[in-house]
């Protein structure tokens, strides 16, 4: 520790920018224990837990629908490379976790892409990784989004698909109007 503090050269630190949104965030205070916009430095070996139980979790949500531990994040280094990556693991037995469109069940884990959308229930997290050199620490920074992140990113999931209609084979390149009604068919 002291070696690090005495070092002349300052290292950049890997940072996870986490933009959060929940439809009830203004009324219920579910994010009241999260300090937004501040960067928090954490030891690189720490397994960061998110959930309802403040004795176990580093970041808590004041919401009875959230599991005591909902999910965890941890840094790791790919074997024989200098690349630091994050892993996300679903710790909830009841609720599955969506990382982009991949579903994680209890104790499933996956490497986080550089930018991804993590969801469970009504919670939305846009997680973006900034690379850094330090092996000692990483940082987190939370940002509160005033509006749904799914709409902002216009994810394919949000595009309505009529039950008896046909839809383009590649929906990501769909330039047609995104609002449709089955009765219009």
């Amino acid at each position: 520790m002291s070696n690090f503090e005495d070092a002349d050269t300052e290292e950049t630190v890997t940072c996870l920018k986490i933009t959060v949104y929940h439809p009830g965030q203004l009324q219920s205070g579910i994010f009241q224990s999260i300090r937004f916009y501040n960067r928090e430095k954490l030891p690189s070996s720490e397994v960061v837990k998110f959930g309802r139980n403040s004795n176990i979790c580093h970041y808590t949500f004041q919401d009875k629908q959230v599991s005591r531990v909902q999910f965890s994040l941890q840094l790791f280094k790919k074997f024989d490379t200098a690349v630091l990556s994050f892993e996300i693991k679903n710790m909830s037995k009841k609720t599955s976790l969506l990382v982009d469109n991949k579903e994680l069940c209890y104790l499933n884990k996956i490497d986080l892409p550089y930018k991804c959308m993590v969801r469970f229930g009504d919670y939305q997290f846009l997680i973006e990784k900034e690379d850094g050199e330090s092996l000692e620490f990483f940082e987190t920074q939370f940002i509160l989004s005033p509006r749904s992140l799914l709409e902002e990113n216009n994810l394919p999931l949000q595009k309505p698909i009529p039950e008896y209609g046909c839809y383009p084979s590649c929906s990501t390149q769909n330039t047609f109007p995104t609002e449709m009604d089955e009765s219009e068919l």
Binding site: S44, S45, V47, L75, F76, K77, K78, F79, L84, K89, M91, K93, L104, C105, Y106, L107, N108, K109, I110, L135, E136
Partner: protein, 231 residues
């Protein structure tokens, strides 16, 4: 957090108790009482060349642990506490998880020591590196030799570690093989491409894993890893 922390008896009788308590004919996962689903069991054999009783003084016979990573190190808050000055307070972790679509617990080993490395099945891992474990795993760090055998149960709530202290090395380095026979071969073939190292590493990774005549977990290697590789 460990919910069962049985004290390890005096080293002189510990091995005897371990031997007497083992029932190789019946899987331990089946024998554990009052569990709805059998727990996955990690059979962990430990050896240190100094045979200092203090090294493993805080190692329990059996340790039940939840689905969080199990910490191994010198720190009092490590779940498996080993008393070695060269060991980091948190040296490594054994993390249970589930493969996508899998129903049983599997494990990965992650190095938490900034200074020390950990040798796992032929790979030398450094800080923050991790590898998945297979059924039988050879692990070495800070002079400690460890063989982990995974006996899968269906419970996802917790797992059990059963520890066994070995009086003989688990990863053998026969004196006769300490010559640089392989090095000589490498020198004779002056094309040390990456392929040259492959058979050596594969030998360590996939070498025959034969139980000792007594049914113990000792692992014989075709070619012993060097001291450097054993960290």
């Amino acid at each position: 957090m460990p919910s069962s922390d049985l004290p390890w008896p005096a080293p002189s009788c510990s091995r005897e108790l371990t031997a007497a308590g083992s029932q190789p004919d019946v899987p331990l996962a089946v024998r554990l009482p009052s569990m709805e689903k059998p727990l996955t069991v990690l059979h962990v054999s430990l050896y240190h060349p100094t045979q200092d009783p203090d090294t493993f003084a805080n190692v329990p016979l059996k340790l039940q642990h939840d689905a969080s990573p199990l910490l191994v190190g010198r720190s009092p808050d490590a779940h498996l506490q080993l008393q070695l000055p060269r060991l980091s307070r948190r040296h490594l972790s054994l993390e249970p998880y589930r493969e996508k679509g899998g129903t049983l617990l599997v494990f990965c080993l992650k190095v938490l020591s900034r200074r020390g490395c950990v040798w796992v099945n032929g790979l030398t891992l450094s800080f923050l590196e991790q590898v998945p474990l297979s059924v039988v795993n050879r692990v070495a760090f800070s002079g400690i030799q460890m063989v982990i055998r995974v006996e899968q149960g269906t419970s996802l709530e917790a797992f059990v570690c059963c520890f066994h202290l070995s009086s003989s090395p688990l990863i053998h380095r026969p004196q006769a093989e300490e010559t640089d026979e392989w090095d000589g071969q490498l020198q004779e073939q002056p094309s040390p491409s990456s392929g040259q190292r492959a058979p050596y590493h594969l030998g360590l990774l996939h070498g025959p894993s034969q139980p000792s005549p007594g049914g113990g977990p000792e692992t014989q290697l075709q070619k012993a890893p060097s001291a450097r590789m054993l960290c």
